[in-house]
């Protein structure tokens, strides 16, 4: 065969190869609703400085009747009802007057709830994916190794993961954070510690199924190293269920971060944190219900978004 006869075909554009499967989500309306919810919060988080009408931590004070002086010690706009229009001085500084609508009212210290939710989305959408990703980084290699090799490796890893899984998660979080203190890094570490065993189990199950495939057998007969078999032969074929699981897990991690915030174990104040906002509003729930209500809605809509997206992905992956 002459060389000129060999025509090396063109590989499709990398963008096309990545985007085409993603476009399939259009065929699942459940997935589209999920995608819309997720997309909404992602846009909010990305463009927070432009979308938030007020600085998140600013204590806002009401504008006095026109023409009068600003009163330096006026009470903050505690529990302003939603959708009320005000001009407000930020931190009592009359040179910084900001007029606008408090769409979701203000909280008990006079900060705009809507702005805090937008800035809070930023926190959630940074730390939840980061924590989930880290949990996968830990869980996947362990699961692949245990599921593929079985035997002693499997026995040891499975035992460790069972011990962690049998421990009440909430108590675990409180213990971890209480021991090492509340910080962004510690939150991520706690979530990884609690989620990795679950991921380990899923990956282990998938690997146990895939290890008996003939292509794995073929790689073994070529004398491929363990790492090649685990990460290039087995892992790519487990990606479908793992992507769906990652979406679901992302939702649960958002709840977890919310829970930690609620318990006061979240990000250090004064940064906005959805869980902490619920905790702060809890005391005067009967008087000003909207502050915690809107934070709860924010958490549940984000979680629902990821759950529906996972459902949609599962739906399209089961077709054909």
């Amino acid at each position: 065969m002459s060389d000129s006869a060999i025509q090396i075909p063109k590989r499709p554009n990398i963008l096309v190869r990545i985007l085409r499967p993603l476009l399939l989500i259009r065929e699942s309306w459940v997935g589209m609703v999920g995608l819309a919810l997720v997309f909404f919060w992602v846009v909010m988080a990305l463009f927070a400085p432009w979308l938030a009408p007020f600085p998140p931590n600013a204590l806002l004070m009401p504008n006095q009747p026109p023409g009068t002086e600003w009163i330096a010690n006026a009470t903050h706009m505690i529990g302003t009802i939603p959708a009320s229009e005000y001009c407000a001085a930020i931190e009592g500084d009359t040179s910084k007057v900001n007029c606008g609508t408090f769409w979701l009212g203000t909280d008990l210290t006079g900060r705009d709830v809507w702005s805090r939710l937008i800035w809070g989305a930023r926190q959630v959408l940074i730390y939840a994916p980061l924590a989930t990703f880290m949990a996968y980084i830990v869980g996947i290699p362990m699961g692949l190794w245990a599921g593929y090799s079985r035997g002693r490796v499997d026995a040891i890893f499975s035992f460790i993961s069972n011990v962690i899984l049998s421990f009440p998660v909430l108590v675990l979080y409180v213990l971890v954070i209480a021991l090492v203190g509340a910080s962004a890094v510690n939150i991520v570490a706690a979530v990884v510690f609690a989620s990795a065993p679950g991921i380990f189990r899923i990956v282990r199950g998938l690997a146990m199924d895939l290890r008996s495939r003939e292509y794995v057998f073929a790689a073994e007969t070529r004398g491929e190293p363990l790492s090649y078999i685990l990460f290039l032969e087995i892992l790519p074929n487990a990606r479908g269920p793992l992507i769906v699981d990652a979406m679901l897990r992302l939702g649960y991690v958002i709840i977890t971060i919310g829970t930690l915030g609620f318990l006061g174990l979240g990000l250090p104040p004064p940064d906005p944190d959805w869980g902490k906002m619920i905790a702060e509003g809890r005391n005067l729930l009967q008087v000003f219900p909207w502050t915690p209500l809107f934070s709860c809605l924010a958490i549940s809509s984000a979680v629902l978004g990821f759950n529906l997206l996972a459902d949609g992905l599962r739906e399209i992956s089961l077709r054909d």
């Binding site: 090396i8 590989r11 057998f217 073929a218 007969t221 070529r222 004398g223 990606r239």
Partner: protein
Amino acid sequence: MAGFQSDWDGPVLECKDLSISYYTRAAVIPAVQDFNLVLKKNETIGLVGESGCGKSTVAMAIMRYMGKNGAITGGQVLYKGVDLATLSEEELRQLRGNEIAMVYQEPMASLNPAMKLDRQLMEVPLFHEQVSEQEAFDRAVQMLANVKLPDPERVMASYPHQISGGQQQRVVIAMALLSKPSLLLLDEPTTALDVTVEAGIVELIAELAGTLQTSMIYISHNLGLILETCDRINVMYSGQVVEEGAVVDVFDKMRHPYTQGLFGAIPLPSADKTARPLQAIRGQLPLPHARPPGCYFGPRCDHFQAGRCDAGPISMQPVDDTGHGTRCVKWQEIDWGKLGAGDALLPHTDFGESVLSVNQMKKYYELKDTSIAAMVKGGSSRFVKANESISFLAREAETVAIVGESGCGKSTLAKVLLGLETATEGSVTFQGKDLSQVPVQKRSRNDVKALQMVFQNPFDTLNPSHTVGSQLGRVIRKFGGITDGEAVRRRVLELLDIVKLPSDFYFRRPRQLSGGQKQRVGIARAFAGNPSMVVADEPVSALDVSVAAAVTGLLMDIQRTYRTTLLFISHDLSLVRYLADRVVVMYLGNLVEQGTTEQIFSPPYHPYTEALLSAVPIADTSIEKKRIILEGSLPSVINPPKGCAFHTRCHRKIGDICSSQVPPLVDAGEGHRILCHIPLDEMKAMDPVIVQKDAAE
């Protein structure tokens, strides 16, 4: 009840111009078109064709089980004169199981694993005929005896997993027959079974067809089985019946090029790799929504004539007045005596030096008893004797076939050779080095690349996540010592060319390939490092006959070109006879017979080889076979029978010596060895199993 007459004398089933379509997201797929069939009382009709030709769709349409997206788009199905389309759901429920019963491919999937068989069997008369419990029980026991199950009472009290696969299929057949159906549909009832078990089921079906008042439709891809069970045959291709008629007529006087192609593609005893090579049908089955105009077989047919064959729909044309018909406009012009243009005769190969020598190799797996009782007693461990004293050798360019049923230790042998397991005892000398104790990770790169494997399952052999090019490229980088990207790519394209695949397969993923194409890539992968020996584990058993012929031919071509030793693991003796130079027969981990292909296929035989040969379905009316049906099922390897491993099923057992002493390996001359107690002279006096009728007269 729609009032079917039990004394109906007309045709039990009539399909008139039946068309069936499936509705999918992409398009309406016409699965079956213009299907006609008249099934008389007590008649058995075979439906034969390759996968995707619509055989099972017809069966489902007869049962009216087509799922949400399937529908009859034209024609009628008349059961005892009643159009099934007019029946209500309730009437259909009465019809199914009572009037029409069906037996599926996988027996374990047809039985409820959580229910004892007595309840499952008794349900049939209890539900359909409202008889008493006692009567239902008696009928079930009687029916189990009718399907030749030993000890029916014990079977009744068992769960499905407690009996063997062959027994399960017998139970399923018994269940189907319990309501005395007028029509029995059998959809590949033996495909999931071993060949000796299959022989028993086929004999049972043929016998039932003779004694019961039941008409049958037998669906199979195996022409040999059709010959053994059916009166008439419908050959289907791409949703149409292309030829129909009495089995003998169609087999001896085929009048459609596709039927002829099918027969050319299956290894018959007359086929020989040098004298009469297998001929694959070129091209591929058209997709159901992209069928060519006119004759669907046109693009693959050697007799295709533009303007006539693609002019318009072709109707069934009668060949004679016995109901033999063909859907070919040119059938009167084609010279049917001559087989299609085949390959030129291939020269015999001279074998070289010995490449592999296996000597007294044993592989035991230890089963540790970890129960508390065993720990108290002081831990006992048992052994699975997967391979027991295996000795054989293979020379350069030689094809050695390893034959045996599932569980005989073929795959363990392959694993030891490839270094995925290490031998318990004995030696495996490959190119002068003993590799029996060297796992693959510790073998040198040259040893690893010199011994490669082709796998069985086309859907599993390639990693679905990587492109064909990257999978082949990996092997070349690993074995070829080539690291330059451009050189690797060039070599991949060369390999694709060797296995006759176009170069644009480079970026394809396995799911975009057909079964045969995947198997070709699998072959390319095995040959990428120029191995001196390739182990092929049933490489074509999962492929359709015409594709299998092409892949077999390709494998042999490459082997011949590179003078590779081929270790061909198979249960298909027809294929083994066709391509092997030497044969090793295994049973329950033991090597029971070995010799050249001629030696194995003629007396003296080991009794197991004799039974295996007899069990092979042969699609040739001029062949007469001795009928030997093995009793019982394969014993467990954990607890193999004492003495000769085969004595529990042997039809030639000569006495207590068989069950007490391990038989000697008798040398029948010229390297032909048989593991049996029967004196050599007696074995030499056996009649040949497969005889050409003309020669016998």
